[in-house]
Amino acid sequence: MMAVRTILGLLLTVGCLGVAGRRLFFLYKVGRTGQPTGPEHHFDLGSAVKAELVEVAAQKKLLKWTGPGIAHFAVFWGFMILLFTVLEAFGGLVNPQFQIPIFGNYPWFGFIEDLFAMLCVAAIAAFVVIRIKEAPAGLGRRSRFFGSHLGPAWFVLFMIFNVVWTLLAYRGASINAQRVNELAGTPDAPLKFLQGAFASQWFASAFHGLGEHTNEILETVLLLLSLAVLLGFTIFVTYSKHLHIFLSIGNVAYARRPRALGALLPVYSDGKKVDFEDPGDDDLMGVGKIEDFTWKGLLDFGTCTECGRCQSQCPAWNTDKPLSPKVLIMALRDHALTKAPYLLAAESSTANGEAAASADGATANGIPATAVAEAERPLVGPMGDEEAHVGEHGITGEGVIPFDMLWSCTTCGACVEQCPVDIEHVDHIVDMRRYQVLMESAFPEEAGIMLRNLEHAGDPWGLGASMRLEWAEPLDFEVRVFGAEGEDKIPDDVDYLYWVGCAGALDDTAKRTARAVATLLHEAGVEFMVLGEGESCTGDPARRMGHEFLFQMLAMQNVETLNEAGAKRIVVTCAHCYNTLANEYPQVGGHYEVVHHTTLLARLVAEKKLTPIQRVDASVTYHDPCYLGRHNRIFAPPREVLGAVPGAVLTEMPRTKERSFCCGAGGARMWMDENLGTRINQNRADEAIATKASLITAACPFCITMLGDGVAQRQQEGGATGVEVTDVAEVLLRSIRPDLAETGAAPGADPA
């Protein structure tokens, strides 16, 4: 009997691991069809170990959501400890009294094993409750599981439950079987087998009445059953979205650190930066086919667990647009896997020196017709006829990623922030946009006006450099302009170069902020200088639209200006300028100490160089601009500035700081029509209005425009009375120089 169970068990193990291994090898080969990564994804032992400890072992990102986070923590550690139990079970195939060396048969070990097994069961119960409560059947799009594979998810829970109970039952029968040996006086049998393993003991008690021989048979049957369940589950995992239990370890190790936010990556072709002044003929310009993604991108797609945390935070999804970051990643994964046989055939024929398999020739080479058909689908395509082609996940149309899905992204980074396995959604979206813009010249038509304006006038409105100093005219002091007195270097007495930004220089509302900041700096005795006509757009909207060429042109021109002027410290009022100057200009040779005006103002207040005296009796709320908060972790300074203003009472919005909800302007969406779903800015403005604040503040001109429009809309409808949208700096100015503060309602506000 022992021999039979050993042989059966080993056959089962070898067979199942063979099937799973074959699948994993196939997935590995698919991953290898991806492109090499740039240096941001090169392996770094220190940061990888840290990330594994923080994100995998400590489950930090999952624990951002307390309930589901604790449940996942329990099931993760439950399975980790369960590995010991599994090891014991494998040992039991050859020796029923097998013990793991060191851990042996101590009661504390048995107790811990069973405790974690029971935690697993408790976690599964919690997951069942979560899945029922948040079922898409009831909540529709508001469910984070909307669009996920629901059947397999339930099956995974069921299988985890089966793994746990079969192991415990086997151990119960094992206890009884050992007791038989014990009673028979077998001298080698350890006494009190699996002491402390309380859950196993429950099964032992339950099975005890079945008699000695039945328990011996039961032990073998349950052992084989538990291994069959476990190994079967392993096979299932390799064919399902549950792959994350293997892949997330690698995905976390190779992820961009500290996070895939802030700077966008340069355009890489074959792992090397593309030189836009003299590109190679074969250089890839972004992603136009699934195999143009890097292997790390493909690993991202395979790692997605369809948990939907990204989807729940996405401003596009929450305003009924066709983009869900989760569905986008799932669609790319499914496309990659369906196309895989074609890709692998193409790769092996190229490797053999033959021409890559053509779509026609491929069928002859034994590639499934589905793979050939999939290979012919464009990666990004127009929306299809809604009724005719509702494909998987509700995506319609011929393209893997519908055009409107790609262009709905505001690059706010809420998805990246949430993803427990470090998927880099924004980078992938921008890479696909890059191909669309650079190679296909395909983008929402209205954004072309902005691109042309950037090219010709250096600002998105097309007003031109000659208008760039008008904002400063009403000031009662002179703003120093670089070069006005013939200097070719920024003089030493200048503390900061003030980067006014296109909005600050050209947009009427933002000009107020530009003046408020200038006045405050002047009041604090900070010497600053502006570039005036020498300034142009940093290139942020072009880059986030995917127009890397235009971004490079603008960035190189600005870096040249800044370097020639000897700029070292720069203060900016726009969150987008801040991000580009601080994080992206180093990619083109511009290294500066960049400070956002809220950080500088908070410092000046702390140093008592600015003393807010005048009361500003107002309830205030603060909107975290994505490119200041999530992308650059500047959460505290704007709040410190507001906190320093006597009389101002800050009420936070429900979605705040890391979970702040985008205003809708990022990712060059400021320059595109928003005619799908509801309006993002309205959603956020309504949230701000609901705090009952009379001052809605932000720290980015585009957020202020968007929120201002949202408030104005409500005021036209008779609501939001007396609500004003303004920059944090203006609130501070009201407390320091109330005589200079330009009060006024939100743009377009109710004239009454």
């Binding site: 590109p279 310009m285 813009v437 650079l438 190679m439 296909e440 010249s441 983008f443 072309g448 691109l451 042309r452 010709h456 006038a457 097309g462 007003l463 031109g464 450099a465 000659s466 006509e533 060429f549």
Partner: protein, 259 residues
């Protein structure tokens, strides 16, 4: 059918222009671009090539060395080759001089249809197409809002204040187009790179059989005698309504003869 598009490299309209001592625009001191109004003509030519109507599209410009940038932009939108007439002696030419250079160059390139923008965005004269037609002795159609070409003629739509005309003109002819013909496409990066490989032929006055004294500032029939910056905009009048706002507005308008 061969189409030649006349394009002009103009100073960037949104930039601050500076003037040289001879009161011509200091072209070195200001960014330039392909005249936006000529982009419409470039686009029409590119479309005619795509439709198979035009077998060859050539862009022709007269301008300083930097004007090749304008030609590259046009070549990114479409077309096959470009001709750049560049000669220091052309500096300061009036419309008569420019049209003479263009006409001579067109005789060199050959043409069935000549397209151009309705005006340049710097001088805004709108007169060069007519002058070129006269010099070449060919038909002309101006301010086309729409155009279609068959083997031997071009048909254009002209929108005037009183009527919309549909005019058929026998080829060879020169046609100037308006923004009504449709915005130029936004060239993809690969088209911009491809444009760098398209040939641009450079010609001098001597190549065209012209002498320096026929063109240029000295020979110009019109000369700029004075240049002054546009006065800054002054703040408008703000009327705060104290109950008499309506009548104040009425008085304001009546004072200026609007009512």
């Amino acid at each position: 059918m061969k189409i030649v598009v006349l394009v002009k490299y103009v100073p960037e309209p949104t930039a601050t222009w500076k003037f040289a001592p001879d009161l011509t625009v200091d072209r070195a001191g200001v960014e330039g671009r392909l005249s936006e109004l000529d982009e419409y003509a470039v686009e029409q030519a590119a479309q005619l090539a795509e439709k198979g109507v035009a077998s060859e599209v050539v862009f022709l410009t007269v301008g300083p060395a930097k004007a090749t940038e304008g030609l590259r932009k046009a070549l990114a939108i479409g077309g096959n080759t470009a001709v750049h007439v560049v000669d220091d002696a052309i500096h300061g030419s009036c419309a008569l001089g420019t049209s003479l250079v263009l006409a001579k160059a067109l005789e060199k390139t050959g043409y069935d249809l000549i397209l151009t923008g309705m005006a340049s965005t710097d001088a805004e004269l709108s007169i060069v197409p007519q002058m070129v037609a006269d010099r070449l002795g060919i038909n002309q159609g101006t301010f086309a809002g729409e155009l279609s070409v068959d083997g031997s003629s071009v048909t254009i739509r002209r929108d005037t204040d009183v009527a919309t005309e549909r005019v058929t003109i026998a080829l060879p002819a020169i046609v100037s187009v308006t923004d009504q013909t449709g915005e130029a496409r936004y060239p993809a990066f690969k088209a911009i790179m491809g444009a760098k490989k398209k040939p641009i032929t450079t010609m001098s006055l001597a190549d065209l059989g012209l002498s320096a004294d026929q063109v240029g500032w000295a020979a110009a029939s019109t000369k700029v005698v004075d240049v002054a910056p546009t006065p800054a905009r002054t703040a408008g009048t703000i009327i705060t309504d104290d109950g008499t706002g309506g009548s104040q507005v009425a008085d304001f308008l009546a004072d200026r003869g609007f009512i």
